[in-house]
Symmetry: C2
Subunit: 385 residues, 2 copies
């Protein structure tokens, strides 16, 4: 085995340098640790975009892929934009607000629905949310809820009527329930909706005027149902030999999977609207251009297609030194700070990149020197016998 150190920065996310055995042992751990949380935070961001500012709660533990799928997923969901989780353990571990209602079995364990609601109201007189669909949402659940909220009011409690509906057409039912509450003297009911919700369904129901104020999202969020894996990879890009970094490329029989060779650095450019315009991958040792001028770059796969970024007013270096020789250099941020940072980054993206369907794709391009290196290595390796 050659002496040497490796550098693994194929994507502008993580760059690891070290002895080959150590860096190789990290591969699967790093991918497992990054792919799933990134996936769930991204999925949650989509769901929150669909909810247009309404609170979204993470309700997925029973369908999560393993116990720590649920726990790690709840943490990632909070980072991605959820305001709470029904996962009590995740709440305890990470100080995430824990939110939920009672179960259908609560109602079913009582002789009647109204008795179940009364018993629940006795425990939580000032903030009870009744699950209204055990028998029939509009004929039974909502009338019984109104009855018990009226009793609470008569007993002097300052009541905001609140229910959860977990079945049926939530758009139709929420509008009807809202009207019933309003006519009963509760003008601003809180209606939590759940039941196989996805970002597409939430967006469609919002368009139809659903009167849901809070969205409880389980399976689709915690498994990222329509796209349950993120294809992050960890690739060797350079080997050190006698103090020289020698770039390496993996080509494979799918040319679009060819790696970007060499040790790299990444700059992000912002325009005057505060939007990020794109990321440019540079070779580690090359000089980067003045961000105020035209920044020449090349498409990552179409290596003869030039691109130019113009009008940047600011650049940001994306690599931060996190660890050295096993010691952490960058202190772990608090979860709420991670969440705030992610929410800020999402808010900076142009609207077109946040469209739920066929969004505009963010630009990631190569510097001309890196593109030339990639072309040269592709030409050379392709002729290996």
């Amino acid at each position: 085995m050659p002496e040497g150190t490796l550098s693994f920065p194929n994507e502008p996310i993580l760059r690891i340098e070290g002895p080959i055995i150590q860096t190789q042992l990290l591969e699967t751990f790093v991918l497992n640790a990054m792919n799933y949380p990134t996936l769930i935070a991204s999925k949650t961001a989509r769901i929150c975009i669909a909810a247009e500012g309404d609170p979204v709660l993470e309700f997925g533990l029973r369908r999560a892929q393993g116990p720590d799928g649920g726990i790690i997923g709840a943490r990632a969901a909070y980072i991605g934009g959820c305001t709470g989780t029904s996962n009590v353990m995740a709440g305890k571990m990470f100080n995430i607000p824990v939110k939920g209602t009672h179960a259908h079995s609560w109602v079913m364990s009582f002789p009647s629905e109204v008795e179940a609601f009364r018993a629940y109201a006795k425990v939580y007189p000032d903030n009870c949310v009744f699950l209204a669909d055990t028998y029939d949402t509009l004929k039974s659940g909502v009338p019984n809820a109104i009855k018990v909220f009226n009793e609470l009011k008569e007993n002097g409690h300052n009541v905001r009527a609140a229910i959860r509906m977990d079945s049926g057409d939530l758009a139709r039912l929420s509008k009807a329930a809202h009207k019933m509450f309003k006519e009963a003297g509760f003008p601003d009911p809180l209606i939590v909706g759940s039941n196989e919700l996805s970002e597409e369904l939430i967006a469609a129901m919002k368009m139809q005027g659903a009167k849901i104020n809070v969205w409880g999202v389980g399976t689709h969020l915690i498994t990222s149902q329509d796209c349950p894996s993120l294809g992050g990879v960890y690739k060797l890009v350079s080997v050190e030999k006698q103090g020289q970094w020698v770039p390496r490329i993996k080509i494979s029989s799918n040319l679009e999977k060819a790696t970007d060779p060499g040790r790299k650095k990444v700059l992000r450019y912002y325009n005057s609207s505060g939007h990020p315009m794109g990321d440019v991958l540079y070779l580690n040792d090359e000089n980067t251009p003045d961000f105020e001028g035209d920044i020449k770059a090349v498409h990552r796969r179409h290596l003869y297609h030039s691109e130019t970024l113009s009008g940047a007013i600011r650049e940001e270096s994306l690599l931060i030194k996190m660890m050295k020789s096993g010691h952490r250099l960058y202190p772990a941020p608090a979860l709420k700070d991670i969440r705030r940072n992610v929410q800020q980054k999402i808010s900076q993206l142009p609207e077109e990149m946040k469209r739920l369907v066929n969004p505009e794709i963010y630009t990631v391009v190569l510097s001309p020197s890196l593109a030339k290196l990639k072309r040269d290595l592709l030409n050379k390796e392709n002729s290996i016998g």
Copy 2:
């Protein structure tokens, strides 16, 4: 809260009786613990059906939803039919055979592919599998593999040529590689295929005569990519009041989600070909009919549709008492025995139920008494005000 004990046997899988608080605390744990492993074992069974007896290896950890998603998933994959896993920790914990090849980075860390293969052959002279697609499978990987296998042969090793291909069209490449090995004096090469494999893709490539002997399946298996959640539920079906079990039903606004009420037992009937014909849910206290006669039953949702099971030669009671008062009564079987039992159950299923596309659905029906109870409760609860 009413005094009482609950029974939770809505599906013929698990029935739990106990004080309401204890049984309620179990809900999310039980669902999390059962849904995901059942999903992955089922997905693996489908993949193994597609592979028609070829070994299938679990390769998914880097894309698993959390670390124990990968570990629990590897165990479930072994139960479902995989013959090994690349997950070293799961192998160590559960004694599952650990299988894999070297990484692309192994090849890339050497000045040339042939040097990488030679170094690997030095360590594993009698069972090396070369990853052949780092640069170009047919122009570089296979010729270099043949070169090194010839060197091993000359040094007196008893060689079976073996490669893995992880990109490109595996059907075309495997047929071409097989031919190259054969012409070079290796008539029976072992070719491992991997790269975004699914049961559909494996079945399609088998139809086209792909010369793959071993299938490494990652993302699609470990996340059950096209169906990443199993909708198992845990529902209250009966409450004990003064020594009497009072059945309960949950209706909701999706009638197909209405639960089967009451404490139940489940019998499975087998025909003379050894195939299971169907499962019948009975009320716990009712007498079950003679299995040799016609067994009358009712559809689970179409409650006025009678069904008859005829020609059973054997019945099997599916409920086994596993625990009592916190003590395990049924010893945990060894993993290999669980695997053998599952594989036997799969082999008993008629072929039509194992079709990958639009399979025949297994029959699960209600006894006439249970169907009557369900109808009565639906009629009654529906009129609750």
